[in-house]
């Protein structure tokens, strides 16, 4: 966002996340929302990442745990179905992978440079419960 002068800043340092009025906000997908420059949606935290989550839809049970816990609203979900990761806003904290309850996990943290297809190709097997001696 441009560093405008005092005469151009808005009153009271108010932040309006949308350019215009948003009717039916809840049922409008993020991608269809008219975000303003003042919305943090307009800024990217992608470069903050050292590791990134990779999502495996074959294992996912759509429990929405990752969507609830993500501190940056970077889990894309529609109609309570997990859609993937918003890599513009994911900062790579790893919370989603941590709270994922499936076995094997549906979200696993990889090096930022990892190619998604190769990660999915070598996804870990289901861990067997270790029998107690």
């Amino acid at each position: 966002m441009a560093n405008v002068g005092w005469d151009e800043v808005n009153d009271a340092a108010l932040l309006n996340p949308f350019e215009n009025s948003m009717q039916d906000l809840v049922n409008t997908a993020q991608s269809d929302r008219d975000y303003s420059l003042f919305s943090s949606f307009s800024a990217s935290t992608a470069s903050w990442r050292v590791v990134k989550p990779i999502y495996n839809s074959d294992v996912c049970i759509h429990c929405q745990n990752c969507w609830v816990y993500c501190p940056d609203s970077a889990i894309l979900s529609e109609e309570k179905k997990m859609q993937g990761i918003d890599y513009d806003h994911c900062k790579g904290c790893g919370i989603c992978a941590d709270v994922c309850p499936t076995n094997p996990k549906s979200l696993i943290m990889y090096e930022e440079a990892t190619v998604e297809d190769s990660a999915l190709a070598s996804w870990p097997e289901k861990k067997k419960k270790e029998k107690k001696a």
């Binding site: 009271a12 996340p17 009717q23």
Partner: protein
Amino acid sequence: MSKEYVLKEVEFWDGAMASSQALRQAEVDIMAAYPITPSTPIIQNYADYLSNGYVDGEYIRTESEHAAMSACVAASAAGARVTTATSSQGFALMIEVLYQASGMRLPVVLNVANRALAAPLNVNGDHSDLYLGRDAGWINLCTFNQQEVYDMTLMSFKIGEHKNVRLPVMVHQDGFICSHTAQNVAPLQDDVARKFVGDFEAVDSLLDFARPVTYGAQTEEDWHFEHKAKQHKAIMDSINVIEDTFEEFEKLTGRKYNAVESYMMEDAEIAIVALGTTIESSIEAARQLREEGIKVGIVAPRVFRPFPYDKIADALKNVKAIGILDRSSPGGALGMLFNEVTAAIYTNDTKPVINNYIYGLGGRDTTIADLKQIAKEIQANADAGKLTTPVQQFSGLRGPKLSFFDMESSK
């Protein structure tokens, strides 16, 4: 719909009643308060009107003045016409949130019944709290009697809520000397007052779900300065709306108000500058002194913030000597009013002799005799063309004369 309250042409009201009646007529939606002497009856009266159906609103009892102003900030941001009242220690506790209200450009109205600050504990009137809040970014309107309390409280909503202003407004009255003293007040009838104040129009309401808004954003060195500059510009420019509102009010009532009030200044040789009920007592003293041939006039900022620098300079351009009276313990400086008024006069070609009086702390009676004595000292300065007294003197104080900066004898 609230019941109409039929008022007499002339009511006999104390300052607290005058402000609470104005709050009732302004149809305040929310009063959030933690009552403190001497502002208590303002709140009590409003709660009474509410309970008896004379106003549609809500009274929120908070656990402190800090919480009271916080509730006001939230309710105002939500889109309500909001008010509270306080004094002294309560005002001091509100201070942090006063800056939030002005920074968020919320047109909260705060009636202040001015009272001394402890320690030592004192419930009576001086201007310590008024001075404490002077940099908080609020419009400050000053009153010198009960009628003005009523008039300014009504106007405060119209001023603060104006689309070009959107700033909180304080209306000051002297604790007890005005707040608990009853005098003749000519109010407007409810329909006339309501029409004058107008309906509240919410701006950037927190409850507008179609256009959500964040209040209280963090701005560091990259944005803070620009936002504070814009806020300052807004309060400086508010003088235009204030003067327009005064004019509109005059058309309605015949009562004329000015950013800077001048009394008997046309031919004045010396002037007293002060705030509060002391203005009226000074007029009384001046009338008596004029019979003795002392031509004293009185100047007072009606609008204390934004400070009418140019109009103060203009009002005082023809006098030879000025006494500036501060009703607050200055804590190691010249009085604040002295400093600000003297700065305003500095650009004038005339160089009047100016001195400072600290008086009336903790409600100490300011008598006509005290004010006449002060005027006579100012006259002596005018006659000598230089200070005949130290710059700062305490008036009405027991014990040996207390004064500072004896400039002439130190030469």
